[in-house]
Symmetry: D3
Subunit: 288 residues, 6 copies
């Protein structure tokens, strides 16, 4: 899970974006001493993710608010379930509401969509993985949500694993050295902990790449038939990663080809925020 240091940095910035000089509505219309008790309630079913981030939004608006999480990240819930409770000064609860919801809706939305993909392939050995198509600034949060949904993470960044694509292979090809050898020589410069994945567009590229000893071969935009052939050809000598426009409608068939990993950009870039709401009960101070 993310450190408090990371969560506080990102949520503070979001709050300063959404309330740079306070919340004029609440300050104008809500008495300073009104108190709110609120429930985070699911308007639809799904998978929970982002509890600690939701809680941070309220604490970082006002240290006097209290958030109790009723579910853990990764828990499934039905529509109508209370996911967390919040209490505190009413103005502060209203000020933090949208930022807190934005994060937990987005993260639970990703977790829920991921879970749907995972369910489609549960009868196979394939795993569902995310991609780098995440929101700038929020990658660690969105990756966490994928795991909450039962998915797996792919490489986090350009720094932590190799993903060689057409441009990279073209450069090796132009070197005059046979591809397998060129690739081997290049990969020897990498950290021994760096996984190497190579993307191929055609079946006839596989053997040269495989001979170089790479960890994963990504079959990009292959037909179902070619995926099956690719799996056979690779025959367990590398992880097989299928990618390219995968949807909920196609993922099952892809998984049944025997691939090991299915990379789904849609998990993060196409997930919609889950419909979660904050039911707020305001208590006004007694008139004197």
């Amino acid at each position: 899970m993310l450190t408090s240091a990371t969560i506080d940095r990102v949520v503070s910035a979001a709050l300063e974006e959404d309330a740079p000089w306070g919340d004029v509505t609440s300050e104008t219309l809500i008495p300073a001493d009104a108190v709110a008790t609120a429930s985070l309630v699911a308007r639809e079913g799904g998978v929970f993710s982002g509890g600690a981030v939701f809680a941070a939004a309220f604490r970082l608006v006002d240290a006097r608010t209290r958030v109790e999480l009723l579910l853990a990240d990764g828990d499934r819930f039905e529509a109508g379930t209370a996911l967390a409770t919040v209490t505190g000064p009413a103005r502060s609860v209203l000020t933090a509401e949208r930022v807190g919801l934005n994060f937990v809706q987005r993260m639970s939305g990703i977790a829920t969509l991921t879970a749907a993909y995972v369910a489609e392939v549960a009868h196979t050995g394939a795993r569902i993985a995310d991609t780098r198509k995440t929101t700038p600034g929020l990658r660690a949060f969105e990756r966490h949500a994928v795991v909450s949904g039962g998915g797996h993470n792919h490489r986090f960044s350009l720094s932590d694993a190799v993903m060689a694509k057409d441009n990279h292979l073209a450069v090796l090809a132009a070197s005059g050295v046979p591809l397998t050898q060129a690739l081997q020589e290049a990969l020897a410069r990498l950290p021994h902990t760096t996984h190497v994945e190579v993307e191929v567009d055609r079946l006839d590229q596989i053997d040269d790449v495989l001979a170089a000893g790479v960890g994963t071969i990504m079959l990009d935009n292959f037909s179902i038939e070619d995926l099956r052939r690719g799996v056979e050809q690779i025959a367990g000598r590398a992880v097989v990663d299928a990618s390219g426009g995968v949807t909920l409608a196609t993922v099952r068939e892809i998984a049944e080809t025997g691939v090991d990993v299915i990379s789904v950009g849609a998990l993060t870039h196409a997930a919609r925020g889950l419909d979660l709401g904050l039911d707020i009960d305001l208590r006004l101070p007694d008139p004197v």
Copy 2:
């Protein structure tokens, strides 16, 4: 448009997220002295937005890269159009590629979706507006994209306009003072530049709110029939803002009720990234 100060801060953070300790793939496979010439090409038609942000990504990876924008934000383009050119050290161009694309795809996607909504209502007097349902940290960028698409911005944050909702009205109602009077008294505390919008759920709430002299009345989740009645009832005495689950399928009918503004959360939270790609031409140094 955003200042360079803002663009550089946000894009720098995105680059540090995506390449915290460099791009292992390019550094391993691409010679240090290879040069790249690249075109940002539209794989589908749309409306351009985010040119300056795209350019910043390359400059902030490596000050030696050069980006020329061929379109201005807000320009329409067909599939196949070249939108910008990039030249520079091949490793740096490849390192910046994903972050640059992420921003310009997201922003052009929002602009394009906005333009679709705008086109649906062009024969009416209604304008299409965004909401606060934006990505944490990217609100200024996403709002800019809405304008590129011909849409209008709504309030930016909790700080710059009042949006009174059920909770706020309930507090006023509980005060024992008639709603109109309570609202008037509260609003007198606001800056004279602060616009006041009040959300109502039923037609019978309109008169009390209107009497308080608010600037905009938001009709939330009204039927088409009730929207029409609301417009009649308000009769030009306030701006009428329709909101609640607006889609491309329903926006035309809503606009035709005579409302002034249609707030569409989907512009930012449901836009998909536009399909833009970077066609890269690598030139290797001559062998000696």
Copy 3:
């Protein structure tokens, strides 16, 4: 009110500026286990503002300090009143003292000066408003202080309201289109929540501007006589904002012309820090 996120960011930076590598005086002269009890005491009367910011200074030097606020922001006090109490390790209390005082003196000074202006115009319908002539980095704090003093805020920034001045009008005038029409066309591009204020230098500019339907007309550097004429001419069709070198000596007369708003740059750029002091009672550990 400002979020904790904002207060902590700004106060942390101030502390790092004032004690980048500690407080050599206290560390040299005060035993590590000495304890301080301190009172924030008014050396002169005024209006309180900045309590939460004062408290943050002590907490961010040392989490073991405790601050109790005895007044709320906006409360009036006489010379000699205790405004807050602080307890904690003596070194930490002494280290935080100046930064804590800097903020609360500045903010209470602004609140107190604002209250003086407000008192001058209390018998009229005019409100006292701040301007953008604030200290770089502290605008949200200074605006909060103006409200503590009974004043109103003007627009916060270049982003949240239009203020068209001579340069802007000159551009419209040069377009060949009549000013009213040019203004109307331009303003139609704005968010419906964006208030439009236009500054005029002469009475004869008012009609064209008014015809465009703007929200506020600023009468800049008008004589008392011309202010009175301007109010008559505008006749309630726009808010009237008087500005230009307003002082405590002139504000009453200006208010009596019937203007709605008086913008006073002096509230923030000419307020002096209020004379508040920290009376510290040090308790040394018993000798063993």
Copy 4:
């Protein structure tokens, strides 16, 4: 002078505060291709300070703007003098105007006020020094301005020099060890580069402090007569620093007592911004 790193950090933050999502006025009313040529002109005479900071504001809004400084920091000028020229896209020049002016007005105001104090004491050996009563976040800028005006800086922060006051002396006094000895023992723990200044409230405190070998004795809130006696008593064995409510009306008499340094909090906390303006000449693109 400040590094570019410092200037850019502080000015970027100021710009993001003043135009968090752009400048709605300029974007609405000024054509994107209009060009501005502007002069920074003195509306009153004074001493220039902050040229590099002024220039940074325009560059950080838009890298295409160009600023030429016509005076160096510390130069004197008459009303009507052009201090700098700016050229660039008109929208960007207008967006940066207020932030650029805020800094240069504040800094030149401090430099000018400092120069007035310095002129009062020019016939004596006394120097005018600033204090820590600076604006949070802007201390380095304000200190630079004091030097531009011919003043001297005092210690920058709690970290770089000792300033022992009543509380500190009281602790030493309570230790049971004679003050001189207690002070000597404590000061021996300091860096050899750390200057020690001790504030005294009465003449009878001087001898004990002096015997401890301190660098400077601050005579706080002394009468003119007592200042003269203090100077005689100290007799060159320490720097003599006079402080406490010094004004332009009293500074000459204080200087003539023979003190070495006069600490004037007013230099920074009571300086008003100098009246500098930006005369802008907009050139519209030719109609096609």
Copy 5:
């Protein structure tokens, strides 16, 4: 290589630490219009690293300075070699000198020490790798320096590879499930790109770990004899990583046992800064 965004952020912070309110020595003693030409000269031989970081220090003090790098990172040099030239205002060159040198000395020191280790094992198949024992805040810079010296990087952080140690294995052991099976089940939850390394303290742990299919086995603090046995036992089925108090005196013998990787914390935590100096030639302006 690191992005400009990363280099500028870290070097700016270092400059603000070393010259928070300017360089009093240069500003006092060097005329503002003096110009400096300087050479970065090696006082001892070594391997260069950090050229771009060195250059940034001068640019971020003053954009008018120019740095030309005469060597590329990774190049070897003898004592007396000029590595870079700097020209610019003399004050700025002197202000940036120490921060620029600090980085390039530290990075070249690490590169040079790494090269010494690499030379010791060049006749074997072993590679020299760094560890996480880096300086807080400078890991990316220090890792880059290791590569400049011909070494390899190990995992960057806790996030990008698994390193299971005694505590982790103890937990698995306590689960009641056989270690191999427990490890397999746990590892199945990881990203397919995440390399798994397990640290063992005794030869008898190897088989269980190996059976779980891990990528690397770290033999921690093994005797030379046990390293040799470990290599035989593993027999190419996993990468073998030797660690624990490796020194220049012992690394050759360790490499000759046949291990694949030797992790050397000393590369970063025990490297001394290389002796590089800036020879400065000041040119004073002609007297008028």
Copy 6:
């Protein structure tokens, strides 16, 4: 001591560097509800420094962890001593371990090395001082550690004291004015709190510098014999600071020459991290 604001900023950045997207090992292998009790134990004797920084690492990973410090900074300890205890969720304790240790090992290493130097000169009047050869970003932490070890700090930065070296003197010499006079004139521009130290390379430079009234003369790279002569020649009229390649082997002899300060760059740039370890006791939840 450093403020919480400074500690939290630096430690948060270190944690984000070491665990940018969590700790994959602990999250994979340790149950979420396992609890850890840990002791920070000395593997070798030394002097403690950095307790508050160590504690912050755990708190900033997870606010539920608790750290109790058993020693104060500056306390001596033997091998085997427990220095602090930590309790909290096991995953969080393991995640924070390396960053917490990195700081406390580095700081205690500096304190311990400093104490060794101090012990060598304890029979003399000389003090051991640090230099600016510190780690970029960590200077305040490393200086604090020097004090923990009984050493003294030298100037912190370029901003807080003058250190004139050969380049500066050469400029003065070139001015045509006698050095003493040129130096006096220049120094008169400094704050009265700014200590002036001048570095000389030869005995014959001393008199001119001394005549200008400087605070400290640094004898740089002098032989023992020349140091003794320098001390005699200066005769108490300035602090004498010896510097240049001082080691534990030479420091005693240097101190016995009668110098006042010995500046030792090695305190910070050559200290090795002290061998401190975290003994962790994991408690797994009971099986249900």
